[in-house]
Symmetry: C2
């Protein structure tokens, strides 16, 4: 004899979330049942709305509710400049920097043949088509600096060079406001190799 | 410009859960959108079912779907023996020990006047009525060993003594399988005070 079945079902359902084991799931269920029924209903509604209503943008593969995501459907964004990122979270980071006025292409992952993630899974066949159509003038690579990120960057570089398109990569170096003594050696070496003339 | 609105709503809704900040909430939303839509819908259903269908047992205050919880509606349980616990999780712990055949009274908290939690909030007025009705022969106190737990235990002790009912408290001492050197001093002192004759 354990909980009432509905409580057990709720606890079990919470364990599908990343980083949530049986203990946290129990704590979540109790918290909503004790003093957050309205919030629990709101979370339930938000889940259904998102699971049913969120698809991928036809153009950039980011999450979208319409055929195009808010960035791709914004006529003020420069559609000749496309930044290649791995995840929707990366798009968010760029948007929060307030610096970028081009569009994105969201791979939703990085090349990882051992996990069955090849070019097609990342929509790189679609990107290849778009590059050949000639609307894009410059690609900015902003995939991660892991092995998978590097492999993905080189694959995209090949596609772009075949289509004769300028490719750049976001600068790697010392983070702003960082104390040099806490920067790792590989980053510091990269920052040295990437040094630029200093102007007032 | 951020996420699609439905994604933002989902992320925000997740932050109502204990221990979930904006980062984890984002990770949860992405995880379900990327590769767990069915699980997301299941969680949504479980939330609605539990928020609408779970109430408190009329008898012991534990979570229940009917008027009585599974323990209180089980005729094989001894209704003259009642164990006082603070939370539904404590009931679960007793049930998993497999040792207890009586019933429970779940306070859903502990006395904490500064937080506005008095006897009425813990249903102690209801317990007082039940003690006076004479069906209960023995109370077992199993509230925590914190200041609040002790205060609660003493309050219940007073109620039971007024009604002339036997009260016991679960033993405090060294945990089973524990190495003495890792047991804290207060627990060891409690275990010494509670020593019993050793029989073969």
């Amino acid at each position: 004899m354990k909980h009432a079945p509905l409580v057990d079902q709720l606890i079990h359902a919470f364990t599908c979330l990343p980083g949530v084991g049986p203990r946290s799931a129990q704590r979540m269920a109790y918290s909503l049942l004790d003093r957050g029924r309205e919030e629990g209903r709101r979370l339930g509604n938000a889940l259904h709305a998102a699971m049913d209503g969120v698809q991928h943008c036809q153009r950039c593969r980011n999450y979208a509710e319409e055929e195009l995501c808010p960035v791709c459907s914004d006529a003020r964004r420069d559609s000749t400049l496309v930044c290649i990122v791995a995840t929707p979270a990366d798009v968010l980071a760029f948007e929060q920097s307030g610096e970028y006025r081009g569009q994105y292409f969201v791979l939703m992952g990085e090349l990882s043949p051992l996990d069955g993630i090849g070019p097609r899974e990342l929509g790189l066949d679609v990107l290849e088509q778009r590059l050949k159509q000639g609307e894009i003038n410059e690609l900015i690579l902003a995939t991660g600096t892991t092995v998978e990120g590097e492999a993905t960057a080189h694959y995209v570089l090949d596609l772009a060079q075949e289509a004769g398109i300028t490719v750049s990569r976001i600068a790697q170096g010392v983070p702003m406001g960082g104390d040099l003594e806490f920067v790792d050696g590989a980053t510091l070496a990269q920052a040295l190799r990437g040094r630029r003339p200093f102007e007032s």
